[in-house]
Symmetry: C2
Subunit: 327 residues, 2 copies
Amino acid sequence: MPSQSQHSEFELIARFFTPSPPGPDAGVALGVGDDCTLLVPSAGRQLAVSVDTSVAGVHYPDDAPAEAVGHRALAVSLSDLAAMGARPRWCLMALVLAEADEGWLEGFSRGFRALAEASGVALVGGDVTRGTTSIGVTVMGELLPGGALTRSGGRQGDLIAVTGALGGGAGGLALWQRGERDLRHPLLSRYLLPQPRLAAGEALVGLASAAIDVSDGLVADLGHLLEGSGVGATLEPEALPLAEGLVEALGEEGARQAALTGGDDYELLLTLSPAGLDEARTRLVALGLPLTVIGRLEAEPGLRGVEDQGEGGWQHFHGRSSRGGSP
Amino acid sequence: MPSQSQHSEFELIARFFTPSPPGPDAGVALGVGDDCTLLVPSAGRQLAVSVDTSVAGVHYPDDAPAEAVGHRALAVSLSDLAAMGARPRWCLMALVLAEADEGWLEGFSRGFRALAEASGVALVGGDVTRGTTSIGVTVMGELLPGGALTRSGGRQGDLIAVTGALGGGAGGLALWQRGERDLRHPLLSRYLLPQPRLAAGEALVGLASAAIDVSDGLVADLGHLLEGSGVGATLEPEALPLAEGLVEALGEEGARQAALTGGDDYELLLTLSPAGLDEARTRLVALGLPLTVIGRLEAEPGLRGVEDQGEGGWQHFHGRSSRGGSP
């Protein structure tokens, strides 16, 4: 039999991370509590899967509110489903904790669950271990074969567009570092409580030729899309939609730089034929989300319209800042 | 465009963790390199999923060989598929690294890949971030509806049996702590290079009434099974199959204790009707694996035949040792 101290840990885990019994539509044949969870994939669908890890002090401030940490850890993974146009179904969480602080766990769990519920994704598995705090979230979504928004479908002449606004992640980080702690500030909210563009991704299936989410920064992520599609592009930096409050926080030049190379925006960067722009905008307006054209794909490789961004965009191991998305 | 230093990280990741293009039978419609991987679930199958995290200094020694760390991180997750009787299909790895040491990565990758290949599981996604080293592995397997070996199917009168031998995990840890470093030693091999009993799990579908893998220790894991099945049991401790070299390493009493409460064995603990024993043994003999009866399920709750194991079995946060399985 598990010892008393084991029970206390298992109860702690059970309290915060055992999901409510999934509904009949959740596609869960056997929930948490056995060696594996058993899922029922929808007939005729493909499964989109991705994993992202959030490390305290690397991806989010050590002293970020627990609720934001839980929200954000799930959001960055869901953003990958959004960028494929997949419908979120299930997620698993691998939580490494320095200590079992009940207050922290309560907040973390609340943030995670609220976003899971809002996104229609069921938490179906988890693992809690002791160590330096990090959160790995695996997400699984479904889509029709051929429906995925990949990075490789962009074609010469396609428009480059972005949902929502850019620079909020970098602006929010800057404010946090200056001591701002009110999550109602639009930039802090953008940074710590990013909204994965799931409905937008699904709405763009069949319209966007390629898509990626802006996690490493616009220039870096556009680079991935251009590489995947085998094309080049010209950007119109003056067209970039700037996050609310960004110019006030960082000044004109800082705001432009944040929008170009800041990470953690989790907007969708997509390409589409000019003929599809009106329809795409109509679909996104219904979601309360603007779509801004910021450039055009061209046959000639390379990125034009912006000066060399040098060390812009965050990356791991050699990164110059303390935040970033997944590679 | 990603900066030079970004390229160096991406190249490092690409070199070690981008899988070879999956074969036509791998069920991968779109491999690594986009926001998500696209998988093609088999028609009419359920999906068994699980995640486990291995933390350096908690689940394996800080100075364990990189190849063993890679093998072991995958093995402990695959063991959960084995315990459900699922056929392994895909896995994703969330790797957190304190530093990007190419030699370590090379060894880690070799150990991970070798076991993946031997197990028929395709690495279809990953994430590498900076932080205190830990490895989270999500595994996905398939099985027919109704075929899963759960923890809840055990019935009064069923035999309790275990594959292979017990105590090797604890014995290997003890040897490692005494300075033994030769992985050819059978106990060290059991501890650092555990073999998930995948073929055995699949072979037992339709025969075993319940199953769990021995990760936290026999007594603790049997406790989970009894709880899940709503029954009790009497164990025959003298029947426990002891790992090769265990008595020499730990003495008679230490060996018995290791087999009862040591973790990290990754054998299958199962229950089955007495009428099915011969058939189960025949199927496992074909896999070179003995099956030993060690007790019997009874209606009366509780575990009899062993004295109170007190703090036996490892657990997180309150654990008294530096190893353990997943909760």
